[in-house]
């Protein structure tokens, strides 16, 4: 910086009044071949960015962000899944050596050691050599870490039941079950129905929402008598008439088939 007497300033500020000539700095003594950041380098960088942006926008338009139904803390049947970048950690906690009484190992110890090591890499690998092949231990450990993250994520994705996951979070239209209907009363008297499909008929511990699928009366009766996949047969304990009323009620989307629709 220029110092000394006789310096002039803008008003009473500290900004020097004399403009210095705007000459680019001299970089010729810097190590290696160089080029200007602005505009040469930035142009290439931004062109890559522009292509990236186009791809990104295409992705967002083609695949809207998913939104499941509103959180219902009482739904204990929901199988949770973290976002994909936490899957490896989530998967780790499934293995015996990292679960149960050893949860501390999987939840704290292993990630702690891994990320701690990552943080301290410059001191763990303090040699001068930069080429990855010339420092096999550091490179090897990193490869191992990356491979295990990929493996754990893969295993987690593979084990997860994606179809069930897509179904369990679906936004369902509110079904207003007519609780005064005869069919509803019959349903309430059937312990085995409630056991799986829940007291509100909207799905429970083992069975789905009854009104989710569209069957007509005969198909519903057939399912109740003969069962369906995952649903045992002959669970209904009532008269044939009651069975018929219930089936009609279910086929009519939870409204009393004899009642007026307002």
């Amino acid at each position: 910086m220029h110092r000394g007497k006789g310096m002039k300033f803008v008003g009473d500020s500290r900004v020097p009044a004399e403009r210095k000539p705007n000459i680019p700095k001299d970089y010729s003594e810097y190590p290696g071949k160089t080029e200007a950041f602005w505009p040469n380098f930035l142009l290439r960088e931004w062109m890559v960015g522009a292509v990236f942006l186009i791809g990104f926008l295409v992705l967002t338009v083609a695949h809207p962000a998913p939104l499941e139904r509103i959180a219902d803390p009482t739904d204990s049947g929901y199988i949770p899944l973290p976002d994909w970048y936490f899957l490896f950690l989530y998967q780790l906690l499934k293995y015996e050596f990292a679960a149960g009484q050893y949860t501390v190992v999987g939840a704290v110890l292993m990630p702690g050691v891994a990320f701690g090591a990552l943080l301290l890499v410059p001191w763990l690998d303090s040699g001068k050599e930069r080429r990855p092949l010339k420092r096999p231990i550091a490179s090897g450990l990193m490869m191992l870490g990356v491979a295990s993250i990929i493996f754990l994520t893969w295993e987690s994705v593979d084990e997860h039941d994606w179809e069930a996951a897509a179904q369990q979070g679906e936004i369902v239209d509110d079904v207003e079950v007519d609780e005064t209907a005869e069919g509803y009363e019959i349903y309430q008297s059937q312990e085995s129905c409630i056991g799986c499909h829940g007291g509100d008929m909207l799905g429970g511990a083992a069975g789905p929402n009854i009104f989710e699928s569209d069957y007509d009366k005969d198909a519903v009766m057939d399912i109740i008598i003969n069962g369906a996949d995952g649903m045992p047969a002959d669970q209904f304990e009532g008269s044939d008439e009651e069975l018929e009323t219930l089936a009609e009620f279910i086929a009519n989307d939870g409204q009393d088939p004899n009642g007026d629709d307002e």
Partner: protein, 223 residues
Amino acid sequence: MLQKVYDWVDERLDITPLWRDIADHEVPEHVNPAHHFSAFVYCFGGLTFFVVVIQILSGMFLTMYYVPDIIHAYESVYYLQNEVTHGLIVRGMHHWGASLVIVMMFLHTLRVFFTGSYKKPRELNWVVGVLLFFVILGLGFTGYLLPWDMKAYFATVVGLEIAESAPVIGGFARTLLAGGEIIGAQTLARFFAIHVFFLPGALLGLLGAHFFMIRKQGISGPL
């Protein structure tokens, strides 16, 4: 005209040196993919920053519609996604951007590692970079809860249980994050504050340090 405005400001504030510091410097040729195609690995850092910028902007716009309240959070997200023109795209940008930031950051970390760029004198910058990694994972974790849908809620339940399994401080950490015994209204408000104010503040500070150090030390030389 523009030149005159510039001169007027420059006379008062002497901004030319600032501009020189920010933009008028050199970059080694070996990081430019136009010279060696393999140099595209050096783009990952810049692209990570680009996605972070997208995240900040789209996040700012999303808060115009979003309310962090367990009764209305879901409905406001549903509204902005289904009723607001382009709301679907902006939420999509924030959603997919969150994943892309992680991917690009992961690739950037691998690039820095395998080119040995963290070695003397750049140790500190590596540490700041790993801290940035943690901050972004934290942003991902807290942001996941905000739509308050099934997925969000139960993922947070599991996440907080993992936090609880930590010895000694586990229970304390869990309560602190959840803002109470149950995961509910206070958790959502807390996660929102962390996601929108605390972590982005830390992110900007660390990013500033990251860039300052790069600018000061320059990009590491060719292998």
